[in-house]
């Protein structure tokens, strides 16, 4: 494995940095070069092999591409990143962007790569009792015009002070294959803060997308998160949640429907570090054609985290002979007065349900589509913005344009 291309790219990239940042960035690069891209020899990367990326060459600066016509949500504030650069014309709150990327020591090589090359990102900071009036919609759009595909590394930060509230939507859209995107989001919620976070991904099915969200939850804070994967070629998402103080609560839902040749790896890690916290996790996957889907969910209950209440469930529909599903719901428990449960299933559409529909005159493809829609709706309905729900259902092939009605989705759930 050669990482030479990354070292060279870095020299090109570092030339454009303010001199004060170069040393720190170089250190992160060193960390990445030492460790290299993770391979399945690491337990955390058991099912996803990134070593092939090592020999590839991505251009660090990617000026090309045309600003897309993004389907913005009606009542939102917006930030548009085109190939990692803020597009001021289309952003309503450009002042929320920060170039700085003073990252803490990265604990894995992908995070180190991200920190070395980061072009910054959203920095949302809400004061005590402050409420974001409208959802914030952050779109990352990838479109390479240059001959060699580019790479984009972004870092976003969200800090909510006591009792602050916000809704943030991160969306990835892409138009060109062969790109590499990494993204790290750091979230910190102070006591009583409430964050609704959506991570939606409909990248080009030849693109590589490595994302990670790290959250720290303070006393009685709430995180409501939904992550939806519809596109991408090689996708890995790490969702880390630390319930650091008593009374914190996480509700995490996810839906993945990989493209025919895609590989989607979702890893979640919920750490109950304090007593009286609650976590609910529910993932669903529809895996067809030659796709490969992975779900690894870890719940850790640390010593002393008594009265923990945790549930985790993953359900997969495996619809093709050449597709593959790997699921690993893990529990690590070091306290006794806890209620923890998890479940995992892999199966097909229910024959008796299909039979029932057939007896009502709905047969074949139509019946299957209906059941798939019901399956996906259980997750999509967790998204509180109806407009978004609708466009996601269309994107995922879980709705028909004309007949879609929210009411219908509601009944299907």
């Amino acid at each position: 494995m050669t990482l030479a291309a990354y070292a060279e790219s870095f020299e090109q990239f570092a030339a454009g940095l303010p001199p004060g940042q170069r040393a720190a960035r170089r250190e992160q690069l060193g960390r990445f070069l030492d460790a290299g891209f993770p391979t399945p020899r690491l337990e955390a990367w058991h099912y996803t092999d990134l070593s092939a990326l090592g020999a590839r060459r991505f251009s660090p600066v990617d000026p090309g591409g045309t600003a897309p016509a993004v389907e913005w949500l009606a009542e939102t504030d917006r930030l548009l990143y085109l190939n990692g650069r803020l597009d001021r014309a289309q952003s309503t709150l450009p002042e929320l962007h920060a170039d700085d990327s003073s990252a803490a020591a990265a604990d894995d090589s992908v995070a180190a790569l991200n920190a070395a090359f980061s072009s910054g990102g959203l920095h949302l900071r809400l004061d005590r009792n402050q409420r974001l009036p409208r959802p914030l919609h952050v779109v990352a759009f990838g479109d390479t015009a240059a001959a060699s595909p580019g790479m984009v590394h972004q870092r976003h930060r969200i800090e909510l002070a006591e009792n602050a509230e916000a809704t943030v939507v991160f969306q990835f859209l892409g138009r060109s294959a062969g790109r590499l995107t990494t993204q790290v989001v750091e979230v910190s919620l102070a006591a009583g803060a409430k964050l609704t976070l959506y991570r939606l991904q409909n990248e080009h099915d030849g693109a590589t997308l490595l994302t990670r969200i790290d959250t720290r939850l303070g006393r009685d804070s709430r995180l409501h998160a939904v992550t939806i994967d519809g596109g991408g070629g090689l996708v890995r998402h790490d969702f880390n949640m630390l319930l650091a103080e008593a009374g914190a609560e996480v509700e995490l839902s996810g839906l993945y429907r990989p493209a025919p040749d895609a590989h989607i790896d979702n890893q979640t890690r919920i750490v109950h570090a304090a007593p009286h916290c609650r976590s609910r996790e529910r993932f669903k996957g529809i895996v067809d054609a030659k796709a490969r889907a992975i779900f690894v969910g870890k719940v850790i209950v640390q010593p002393g985290a008594q009265k923990t209440d945790s549930e985790q469930h993953v359900a997969n529909l495996l619809l093709s002979r050449r597709a593959e599903v790997n699921a690993k719901p893990e529990l690590e428990i070091y306290a006794d007065d806890v209620k923890c449960a998890h479940g995992a299933t892999v199966g097909q559409l229910d024959d008796s349900a299909l039979e029932y529909l057939r007896s009502r005159g709905i047969a074949g493809a139509e019946a299957r589509a209906l059941l798939l829609r019901a399956f996906g709706a259980a997750i999509l309905n967790r998204i509180a913005i109806p407009e978004l729900r609708r466009s996601l259902a269309l994107q995922l092939g879980l709705a028909d344009e004309e007949e879609f009605e929210d009411a219908a989705a509601e009944t299907l759930a």
Binding site: E43, P303, G304, Q306, N316, L318, L319, S320, R321, A323, E324, V325, N326, A327, K328, P329, E330, L331, E332, I333, Y334, A335, D336, D337, V338, K339, C340, A341, H342, G343, A344, T345, V346, G347, Q348
Partner: protein
């Protein structure tokens, strides 16, 4: 934990010390250390054929290139493999206690609680056995009956000479010599173990037990077991016993291989209660075992049942390769960790054939500072049409310093497969305890009752005598866990 390295050394020291007392007639112990010469020596002492020596050497060369695995959720100081003596002639009973009066009274008390007859107590404690008693023992009678049925049940070292074709055909065919670190070590240096062969169409007339092989009792460190059930055969095999046994080896790395041909069935039950170390975790056995069954034939079945309450560290994953169409794999397990015990155990079910089914029921109980993990893999290959699996793992926590962990891997490559996995972790419900206590049942007894109920699904898979003992064993093992 920090005190353990000393213990190993001390144990090693003690071993060497006792070897120093052995008279010249009995100097059949090889000096500690492992090399090709040692393996040649072991093989020569046992007068093994050339192919077996080759097998051992291949395993040893592979082992040299392997690293001690670190992925399990257990912690222990590094093991010095050069400090172990890899061969000693089965010890005569001379160095054991002369009568039960010389045996640790604490041990005897445990025997009493388990309801073990006096003669058996002597056997277990390693008391020098009366030769007459031995020769007319039940074992001999059983052997005759087995012979009539055509069943072969003997030490594997004997089988190498008596039935070389069978051993050569099957040895290492389920667990290859380079399978994993400890299996490779075992393949290189194994000294003895059981060999069972049930011919076509025979239903073994009795439950076979290692317990009958009294004479080979002290061969436990690198044990090798091979069980073959031919077409339509059936055997139920019992390993271990509920009583704590006298044993001086700290590291145990056994290999068990099971093979079932068409319509054959093997039921393998284990009760393991080796020395778990004292309350602070000093001493105690390391139990690193590779157990695997190969359902080669159609409609064949392999069923593992285990009750693991002993050992300082348990590390075993009895597995089934469901190769034959319509074959069935089962795994029922109760693992209990108390004080400083650690257990990382579970199973692998590899579905290869069509219509293969597997069931996993794992019950873990953690008390004191005990840590335990269920680690399982269910893999459905492309060829395994209509595979089914149901997995249930439940953990019960007693006390706030223990831990219970679950690492279930599910890998599916066939769309007709149906898999379910469910797991729960909780403590003993207050209302259940309260109910028992209002009925005048003391807390400790109530806990033991509830734990037994929790394990019922597994106990009912055990042969009857074992099931009764297992219940008592849990109660004894949990002593002092509450209150």
């Amino acid at each position: 934990m920090a005190t353990q390295p000393q213990d190993i050394q001390e144990l090693m020291r003690r071993r060497e010390y006792s070897a120093g007392f052995v008279t010249s007639i009995e100097s059949d112990t090889i000096a500690p250390g492992l090399s090709e010469d040692v393996i040649r020596l072991i093989s020569a002492r046992k007068q093994e054929p050339e192919w077996l020596l080759e097998f051992r050497l291949k395993a040893y060369r592979r082992w040299l290139k392997m690293e001690q695995p670190k992925w399990a959720q257990v912690h222990y100081p590094p093991i010095d493999y050069q400090a172990i003596s890899y061969y000693s002639q089965p010890k005569s009973h001379k160095d054991g206690p002369k009568s039960l009066d010389e045996v640790d009274p604490k041990l005897l008390e445990t025997y009493k609680k388990l309801g073990i007859p006096l003669k058996e107590q002597e056997m277990l404690a390693g008391v020098a056995m009366d030769v007459v008693f031995d020769s007319v023992s039940v074992a001999t009678t059983f052997k005759k009956k087995l012979g009539e049925a055509g069943v072969i049940f003997c030490p594997i070292s004997e089988a190498v000479h008596e039935h070389p074709d069978l051993v050569r055909k099957y040895l290492g065919s389920v667990v290859p010599f380079g399978d994993n670190f400890y299996a490779a070590l075992n393949s290189a240096v194994f000294t003895d173990g059981s060999f069972v062969f049930i011919p076509k169409g025979v239903r073994c007339p009795m439950e076979l037990s290692t317990y009958f092989r009294i004479n080979e009792r002290n061969t436990g460190q690198f044990e090798r077991t091979l069980i073959i059930a031919e077409e339509g055969a059936y055997v139920s095999y019992l390993e271990g016993c509920t009583a704590p046994q006298r044993d001086e080896n700290q590291l145990h790395a056994a290999v068990v291989e099971l093979v079932t041909l068409d319509d054959a069935q093997i039921k393998y039950s284990t009760v393991q209660n080796w020395y778990p170390g004292d309350e602070e975790g000093r001493g105690g056995i390391y139990n690193f075992v590779t157990k695997r069954g190969d359902c080669r034939g159609r409609r064949s079945k392999i069923s593992w049942t285990q009750v693991e309450t002993g050992s300082a560290i348990t590390w075993k994953y009895p597995s089934c390769i469901l190769r034959g169409d319509d074959s069935v794999g089962e795994f029922y397990s109760v693992a209990l960790t108390h004080h400083r015990q650690q257990a990382d155990t579970g199973t692998k079910m590899i579905h290869v054939g069509k219509n293969t089914r597997s069931t996993i029921v794992s019950k873990g109980i953690s008390a004191g500072h005990g840590q335990q993990s269920y680690r399982g893999l269910v893999r459905v290959l492309e060829s395994a049409e209509n595979a089914r699996n149901h997995t249930q793992c439940d953990s019960l926590l007693i006390g706030d310093r223990c831990g219970a962990h679950t690492f279930p891997y599910t890998e599916v490559r066939n769309p007709s497969a149906r898999l379910e996995h469910e797991a729960t972790t909780s403590k003993i419900a207050e209302d259940q305890l309260y109910y028992c206590r209002t009925r005048g049942i003391a807390e400790e007894e109530a806990v033991s009752m509830i734990v037994n109920g929790f394990c019922k699904d597994v106990f009912k898979e055990l042969p009857m005598e074992f099931a009764v003992e297992a219940g008592k064993l849990l109660a004894v093992s949990l002593e002092g866990a509450v209150g």
